[in-house]
């Protein structure tokens, strides 16, 4: 068999070769070189700005980062050769900038806000390594996105369990700044919701693909809206309501908003029915209004959003948002330069408000570039979703891409006061492990879907009547 399965370079003059689509891994490597150069320059910039010399540990940090990302690249050469060449460099750039910002915040603080621990940069690189390990694992284990469809219910159950876990655990283990969203294991913490998002997205996709015809067609028409049958919609409605309730109970409004958007968007992609969007929007507004009335901490978010500058003192709840805005304002068009601003004045700037730190030090120009990088990742994901043939992969990639976009919208819109600020992590940029690892898994799934979409069809190597022998590599 080996002679048959081996790629055949021989050219048959009667059958000129089908134009071979290139894998573009070389392009990817070139783009990665840019990403590395950018991160290296940013690192050096921080050192020169703060101390007038190259930062200590620059070589180690850069080497660690470059090696980890190159491993991801090599894994793609081996297991996803046809994948989109932009996803990895874009993700690596953001991840690298996140590491640089962690280093920058560890290097300088003031009396009120102590700098991050000196080991924070190394830990962030370690998280990157774990993230890339998961990335590679996804590529190795999931050769076809379709196989995930088998685990629709398993992943749904796991997702719910992960969400419920912090709520069930005692507060001493799970509570952080009033929200019960983490599991503390010694000095390390895990935020299970980051992984629950992925599990539930896969579960939603599997369920909706199986039921999309009945959801779209069977049912009664009420007030111009086609309502599906309860037995079709029931399970998913239960999952959705349960997740929302849990999130409200855990005081994590931002994530519940992302869930809601993910759910509605996937429903819409699956059924192509605009009425779902309308219904989803109405339910969201009604839900948000009810939550603002019922739960003090939700109403307070709205109040902070509308009146951030009243009651100006450090203990006031709007302090964090206001300081973030001041930071961005002080950055202006071109920013203070990495290491030149005072992002540490903003409390917890390394997690939810990291975007304001970039706005302060890289300015409007840098922040727009970062937003455009996110936009490109989402665009590549949606592109993969559009071009892949299998409906499950389509729905999964479309849903995950939209979720990433929504997450960026909720957090960046929140810190820039476009919408009320609800604390969620900024993918790749926030300091912390769970979000980073989950983001890498998300990218891995998009890479896999794009690989499936771009992989050329099997080429015939024999043309002998109806039975063809094809190469499957």
């Amino acid at each position: 068999m080996s002679s048959i399965t081996a790629p055949t370079p021989a050219v048959d003059p009667d059958h000129p070769p089908v134009p071979v689509r290139r894998g573009r891994r070389g392009t990817e490597l070139t783009m990665l070189a840019f990403a590395f150069a950018l991160v290296l320059f940013a690192f050096a910039n921080v050192g020169y700005s703060l101390n007038g010399r190259l930062p200590s540990g620059l070589a180690e940090y850069m080497a660690g980062f470059v090696v980890v990302v190159l491993i991801a690249h090599l894994a793609m050469r081996r297991w996803a050769p046809w994948a989109d060449p932009l996803l990895l460099p874009l993700a690596a750039t953001l991840n690298g900038l996140g590491i640089v910002m962690t280093y920058r915040l560890a290097a300088q603080g003031n009396l009120l806000s102590a700098p991050l621990s000196p080991s924070a940069t190394g830990i962030q690189i370690l998280y990157t390594a774990i993230g890339v390990a998961c990335f590679v694992a996804v590529l190795v284990l999931i050769r076809e996105p379709r196989v995930l469809q088998r685990y629709t219910y398993t992943l749904g159950a796991i997702g719910l369990l992960l969400l419920a876990l912090p709520a069930l655990l005692p507060s001493s283990i799970s509570e952080v700044y009033g929200a019960k969203i983490q599991i503390r294991l010694g000095t390390f913490t895990i935020q299970p919701e980051e992984f629950a998002k992925l599990a539930l997205a896969v579960s939603f996709a599997g369920y909706l693909v199986a039921k999309r015809d009945v959801l779209a067609l069977a049912g009664r028409r009420v007030l111009g809206i086609d309502l599906p049958r309860a037995r079709d919609l029931g399970p998913i409605l239960v999952v959705w309501a349960a997740s929302l309730l849990l999130l409200v109970f855990e005081s994590d409004i931002g994530t519940s908003a992302v869930f809601m958007g993910l759910f509605v968007a996937m429903l819409y992609i699956a059924t192509s029915r605009t009425s779902w969007l309308l219904l989803g929007f109405v339910m969201f507004v009604a839900g948000a209004f009810a939550a603002a009335k019922l739960f003090g901490h939700v109403g307070e978010r709205f109040n902070i959003w509308l009146h951030p500058f009243t009651g100006l003192n450090p203990s006031h709840n709007a302090y964090q948002l206001v300081q973030g805005l001041y930071g961005m304002a002080s950055g202006g068009l071109l920013g203070k330069g990495l290491g030149g601003g005072q992002p540490y004045i903003t409390p917890l700037v390394q997690s939810d408000l990291v975007v304001t730190a970039f706005g302060e030090e890289l300015g409007l120009a840098g922040l727009m570039a970062i937003l455009i990088i996110y936009g490109l990742i989402v665009q590549r994901g949606l592109q993969a979703a559009t071009s892949v043939k299998d409906p499950f992969s389509k729905l999964l990639a479309g849903g995950l891409s939209f979720m990433l976009a929504l997450q960026v919208f909720v957090i960046v819109g929140g810190v820039t006061r476009l919408i009320p600020l609800t604390g969620i992590t900024t993918p790749f940029l926030s300091q912390g492990g769970s979000s980073l690892v989950a983001s890498w898994i998300l990218i891995a799934i998009l890479v896999r879907v794009s690989e499936t979409a771009r992989r050329p069809p099997p080429r015939p190597i024999q043309d002998e009547g109806l039975t063809q022998v094809v190469t499957l590599r």
């Binding site: 304002a329 996110y374 949606l382």
Partner: protein, 491 residues
């Protein structure tokens, strides 16, 4: 499904466009308003990251500078001449500024739009950004003489001195007593700053008040310059030698009150008629009280305005408290208003402006304190061009008034004869004394007032002095003006 995906893509595009528009609005258009928020620690500390510009006198004496402080605010403000220049420089503390430090704050701290291009070049060339220097119109010799005279010769009485270049309006000296040392307010220790600030605010002497421009007293007889100007303008045929009505006692209408001269003395030869020049030199209240009633309050009011009184908008660049002429409700009070009593009030600056207008042929120049602004690379950013505030009187009337003011100092019967040219190293001073009664029942000591210019033939400096409770203008105020003139002219 692809149609739905494309629509989702459009939704995503809209979300990102919203984010981009919003960050553009935030970082492109809202930066100034956010930086101005009172609790913005970044904007607050940013003020102190650059070296603030110096304030120097026109003859290059540094009166305010920033030196390295070694703490987080990097620079500390120092005022080498302390209280002498405090009314001019003001202070720049961690939290606030006053006087020139306030009014020229944006150029001193380098944030002014006129410095934006230079700051950008400094950014590119890697040069440390620095605020611009402000050059004052103040002459250090005149200022020093004014301050020393106030501090030593009045026995601690409050008062102020202003000297002006009559031809340009440039303020040559501006001293106020009692004053304060702005160096106590430049500490970076918040508690110390509060304590020093509170001590100054509670000080009964009110040292933070700049009496040269922000406090008023009755002008007394110096207002006779305005009354005479109105008379000579309204009676074009008259000259300083014209005889005017000058009774020993002036009966005022609709009242039993009788206006007499100082100590009831006789004006002129007692005939009831005397030369205007003589009445002015001797400062006969009856003459000018009668003259004011004849002219009428509206005429006096309009001439007071021509000399810069009643103006609520005069800035040097600090806002000057208006010197007021209030139209009296009766003829009797008009007589008092014509001799600088009733509700007439003036600042020492206004006193200097009286003499400056006469010295410059009736043309009153707008007083100003900032000569020019120089960037850290020594290039000139702004230069003040002298402007005319008003033509107070015609050159002919100004010349007549000049003769009359000369007589006050130079003729034997003049009230300020002690300072004639022979006594003052040949400097010919022309002036007018004032001794203003104050309070409803004339309680307390009279305020001493003096306005003058010198040299008579070629006026280079006009001085206004008011000493609260100083007594006679000639004995308490005039010596100070003379010291300033001599210091300025280098005699």
């Amino acid at each position: 499904m692809n149609r739905a995906l494309r629509r989702i893509s459009i939704a995503v595009l809209v979300m990102f466009v919203l984010l981009l528009v919003n960050v553009n609005y935030l970082q492109g258009f809202q930066t100034a308003s956010l930086a101005a928020k009172p609790n913005n620690a970044r904007a607050f500390e940013a003020q102190f990251q650059y070296q603030r510009g110096d304030i120097v006198t026109s003859d290059n004496v540094t009166v305010a500078e920033s030196v390295a402080s070694g703490d987080i605010y990097k620079y500390k403000r120092v005022y080498p001449r302390g209280p002498e220049y405090a009314p001019v420089t003001g202070y720049a503390t961690l939290y606030s500024q006053s006087a020139i430090e306030l009014y020229e704050n944006s150029v001193l701290n380098g944030s002014d739009s006129s410095l934006a291009v230079r700051n950008f070049i400094d950014l590119i060339t890697g040069k440390q950004r620095r605020g611009a220097n402000v050059t004052l119109t103040i002459n250090s010799k005149a200022q020093n003489a004014a301050w020393n005279a106030l501090e030593t010769s009045t026995g601690g009485k409050p008062g102020a001195v202003v000297a002006i270049d009559p031809q340009t309006g440039a303020i040559l000296a501006m001293a106020s007593y009692p004053s304060y040392d702005p160096n106590v307010l430049t500490t970076h220790d918040g508690a110390k700053l509060n304590a020093a600030d509170e001590a100054l605010l509670k000080d009964p002497g009110n040292p933070l008040l700049n009496r040269a421009i922000n406090f008023t007293w009755p002008p007394g007889s110096t207002f006779k310059i305005v009354t005479s100007s109105a008379y000579l303008t309204k009676n074009p045929a008259s000259t300083p030698q014209t005889n005017v009505y000058s009774p020993t006692q002036l009966k005022l209408p609709q009242t039993t009150h009788i206006l007499t001269n100082n100590d009831g003395e006789v004006c002129g030869n007692g005939s009831g008629q005397t030369q205007l020049l003589f009445a002015f030199a001797q400062s006969c209240d009856t003459t000018f009280g009668s003259m004011g009633m004849t002219l009428g309050a509206p005429v006096l009011n309009s001439f007071a305005g021509m000399f810069g009184m009643n103006s609520t908008t005069l800035r040097i660049p600090m806002l000057v408290t208006p010197s007021n002429y209030v139209i009296p409700p009766s003829q009797a009070l008009t007589a008092f208003s014509a001799i600088g009593q009733y509700s007439d009030t003036v600042t020492p600056l206004q006193e200097a402006m009286f003499a400056a207008a006469i010295a410059d042929g009736g043309k009153l120049m707008t007083p100003y304190l900032v000569k020019q602004v120089t960037a850290s690379d020594l290039s000139t950013v702004q230069t003040t061009t002298p402007t005319v505030l008003s033509q107070a009187v015609s050159p002919a009337v100004a010349s007549d008034l000049g003769q009359m003011m000369l007589a006050v100092v130079q003729s034997p019967e003049g009230t300020a004869n002690a300072f004639n040219a022979a006594a003052e190293d040949g400097i010919t001073i022309a002036g007018k004394t004032g001794t203003a009664q104050n309070g409803a029942n004339n309680t307390g000591l009279d305020d001493a007032v003096f306005t003058c210019y010198a040299p008579y033939a070629n006026p280079q400096i006009a001085v206004g002095v008011i000493i609260q409770g100083g007594g006679y203008g000639a004995s308490a105020a005039a010596p100070i003006a003379v010291q300033v003139i001599k210091a300025f002219l280098g005699k």
